[in-house]
């Protein structure tokens, strides 16, 4: 089959002139007709990200909810703890009433919730997942055409860098934790400006490729006589090698022009701090860089941690951290909820609002980066005081290139959290029909929000 025009003009035609950048490898795959991800032929692959914050939202058993809207469908009312989502409300769907079903597995506090949402199975131990987190499947499906398959970020300034993204269940991603480090990764010396006119392939890249081929040559010999668990770990190692090869291969191709890409300047390094205000500022600064990383086509998949499951964030000058307050603070009899905990939850959600606004601020084609993304946001618990894994707050933000009928509130009574996870995967084009195991196995996405 011959095309009577060049490949780029062809692609522009297919997306109705929307000036969004597309890297050539996508185009190659598209023209070869080998991929299924682009089967509908009219939509660009969207970006996908997870956003995690610790300690849930306030929803007391006595009914003092501070986040579940009473109205379902479009036009849900803004609840006090969701105040920060107001400016982007039409691009955010709220999911309430979803829960983790452990099938006899214990509720491992501050762990079972997000482990189940991401891996589809309640974990057996509190330091691992019983399967890969699904973002890795999304990255395999939509993340291979950019320099980075996935970018992991942790804004929390916790004791250890926090990531819940894993391919093996035991090794978790190494996140970028400061704006400066994220900047260097995305826009440092290996970055190639997609809008630069004098692009030349760097011959040293081919030499670096030969370094990796020597490693890969030995793969078979190394794998012989290795136990099962170690095979999984070596597989992950070689996956990482291939991702590096992919990065190098990308750098040998002239990047496609990206209209929305404006290369940012290097941010200043900031002192490490875990106060609510500092983590919020860190979240905002990291989100700004991430948004441009997406617009400049450096990655299409990300995982963002705002605070960890056992969040160590605190208000400056207060001796108790947020986590302690959620457990210790009594329910105010008049109000029907914990006032200080709820105030902190609202503050933590402000960072999520900031995050989305940063993605919405980058104009891209007829919309924004947020419009061409889908972000699944969730926490480790529902009502944190009692480590509840019922009614875990979950959100889908961004229009996913038009596939997400955003701005709705979906309420269920006790359905599995994995339904939201499955929906997210299908919205971004992962060829997957079901997700989860045991009672959390589901083949039913939430169709009312799918366009």
């Amino acid at each position: 089959m011959n095309f009577p025009f060049n490949r780029r003009s062809f692609l522009r035609g297919m997306i109705n002139g929307t000036a969004v950048c597309v890297a050539l490898p996508v185009l190659n795959r598209f023209l070869n007709g080998s991929g299924t991800a682009y089967a509908d032929g009219t939509k660009l692959p969207v970006r996908f990200g997870t956003y995690f914050w610790g300690l849930g939202l306030t929803d007391t058993p006595t009914g003092g909810t501070r986040w579940v809207p009473s109205k379902t469908g479009y036009g849900y009312e803004i609840m006090p703890e969701l105040e920060s989502l107001k400016p982007v409300k039409d691009k955010v769907s709220v999911f309430s009433g979803f829960r983790v079903i452990g099938d006899g597995r214990p509720n491992l506090v501050h762990w079972s919730g997000h482990a189940s949402i991401l891996s589809g199975v309640a974990p057996a131990a509190a330091d691992r997942f019983d399967g890969p987190s699904f973002d890795s499947k999304v990255a395999d499906a939509i993340g291979t055409a950019t320099r980075f398959k996935v970018i992991d970020i942790d804004a929390s300034a916790s004791r250890q860098p926090v990531s819940y993204s894993t391919r093996t269940g035991t090794t978790f991603a190494m996140p970028e934790t400061t704006p400066l480090v994220l900047y260097q990764r995305l826009f440092g010396s290996a970055f190639q400006d997609p809008n630069s006119d004098d692009w030349k392939p760097d011959p040293s890249i081919m030499l670096r490729q030969s370094v990796l081929s020597a490693v890969e040559d030995q793969r078979q010999a190394l794998m012989a006589g290795v136990g099962k668990d170690d095979q999984v770990r070596l597989d992950q190692y070689f996956t990482s090698v291939r991702e590096m090869e992919n990065q190098l291969a990308m750098q040998l191709q002239k990047p496609e022009h990206c209209q929305a890409c404006v290369v940012p300047t290097a941010p200043k390094d900031t002192p490490r701090s875990a106060t609510v205000d500092a983590v919020r500022a860190n979240t905002k600064a990291l989100a700004k860089l991430l948004a441009m990383g997406l617009a400049c086509n450096q990655t299409r998949v990300f995982n963002f941690v705002h605070t960890a499951g056992i969040s160590e964030t605190y208000i400056a000058g207060e001796s108790k951290i947020y986590h302690q307050i959620t457990h210790d603070e009594p329910i105010d009899a008049t109000l029907g909820y914990q006032p200080e905990t709820s105030r902190l939850a609202g503050l933590v959600m402000q960072a999520f609002g900031d995050f989305l606004i940063e993605l919405d601020a980058v104009k891209e084609g007829a919309g924004t980066v947020l419009d061409n993304s889908l972000i699944m946001a969730f926490s480790d618990t529902g009502y944190a005081k009692i480590h509840s894994i019922e009614n875990i707050p979950m959100f889908l933000a961004g229009r996913a290139g038009g596939r997400h009928k955003a701005g709705q509130h979906v309420h269920t009574t006790g359905e599995s959290v994995t339904r939201v996870s499955l929906t997210a995967q299908q919205l971004v084009g992962v060829p997957v029909g079901e997700f989860g195991t045991g009672s959390m196995r589901t083949a039913r996405p939430i169709t009312e929000i799918m366009g």
Partner: protein
Amino acid sequence: MGALVLAGALALVGITPAQPPDQPSGKGTPTKVALRRITESQYRHTIADVFGPGIKINARFEPEKRVEGLLAIGSAQLSVTSSGFEQYFALASSISDQVLDEKQRATSVPCKPSNPTQADDACGRRFIEAYGERLFRRPLTESETLARLKTASTGAKQAGDFYAGLKLALTSLLVAPEFIFRVETAEPDPANRSQYRLDAYSKAARVSFLLWDSAPDQELLNAARSGAIHTRAGLHQQLTRLTSSPRFEDGVRAFFTDMLQLDDLDNVVKDPTIYPKFNQSVSDSAKEQTLRTTVDLLVNKKRDYRDLFTSNDTFINRPLASVYRIPFASSGDWAPYTFPQSSERSGILTQVSFLSLFAHPGSSSPTKRGIKIYEIFMCLPTPNPPADVDFSRVQDSTKATIRGRLLDHMSNPGCSGCHMRSDPPGLALEHFDGLGQLRTMENGAMIDVSADIYGVKLVGAQGLGKFLHDDPRVPACLVRNVYAYGAGRATGAQDGDYLSNQTKAFASDGYRLPDLMVQIASSPEFFKVVVPTGVQHPPSATTAATVPLQKSGGVRQ
């Protein structure tokens, strides 16, 4: 035998069997029994040993994982993520650039190429084999060498520079899984071919990483090559050499950094409005103080391990002097110091490292401290809090001191089960705030530091130090930790007899750490082979191999 003949016949007619022929009974193929990602400090020590201390290592390393109290156990569960590999790759390139820098190459390359603008396989091979052996901790296979020679020659041709090719070959060794992971290999035991033993190079690495926190040096590799390490005398000679070297200190530091969880000090955050004296320099100094104290007491002075909980001989520097509120008059960076009785300090538990690590950003935490005292020093882990604790019954306490607030918790049946156990040792340390500064009052009330630990009544940090000094579980826990750290695996009930015998030997040697390390590293259990499940091409001897080991009590799948 028949199978071998058949294989030979097939080869003659140009046909290769798809599967390797079954090994005759008792002639199992080498089996990789463990794969442990090397730690950041092992990486740094190895690079300094192999290429010299001048090599700069500027990179972020992937987070490590503490399992059953030790990163050394967690290292056997870790892999390399894509961003982690990016870091290793960039670091490897930077190391190769430094090693083959124009000024360095005369010393780092063992030969001269016939023409520096072209590939030279003979010289390239010498370089690759020499450094490959140090980095992989065993001689390279011919195919491993050839793969790097190919890289070197391609690079030399493309760049018109022999050394550019070598850089690529060295980078390739430095990012190889055989370097980044410690691959421990077992082979059929020649004395009893139905059993496995750790091969000589894996043994050498185990000893070297335990005692020097680094890859084997040339002499140790030679002892592996000659097989001397398999003999009692040969092994003992190496153990004596390694523990007599000044580099034994590196091994001891690495062990205590892991056991005392001092690596976490790199990430501690404190609220500056509550602890204005805290900063990165204080937390770095706190780690160094504890390591200096420990090495001086246990290695230099060869004192009783239990003195670590009562001795107030330590070292301070200027940032710490400010936190401890003591004068610092030395002109050097560090100076020896002995805390007076009135300071209420008692050993390493009362140093800033432990006290600030196990606390909140804005307050102390008797619960965290208590849990860590049990876990780190007594090997008594605290189970995760049950999810069904009825926190709704917890009401805000108005008590001024943390003790008062915790006692309110303890009167709540949902909380008391754990807090009755975890809090008392921590309550004894309450005269030290979340940074480790001495105090006697909290919110205007006197702080009571009495505690009752399993019926033993004691008062304050000094009482707690004495309690730990005298509790037999404390040296037993150290024995377990040294073994688990060196062998890289969690211990279980089946190790009970072995550990108990080692603990007795430790006691009769006067609780000297260097003797304990040698004692453990000379025991056959230290090199015990545990064949993992699901080995590809399982050798026929797999099952047989586990039988005699079970008798000695140590197989853990």
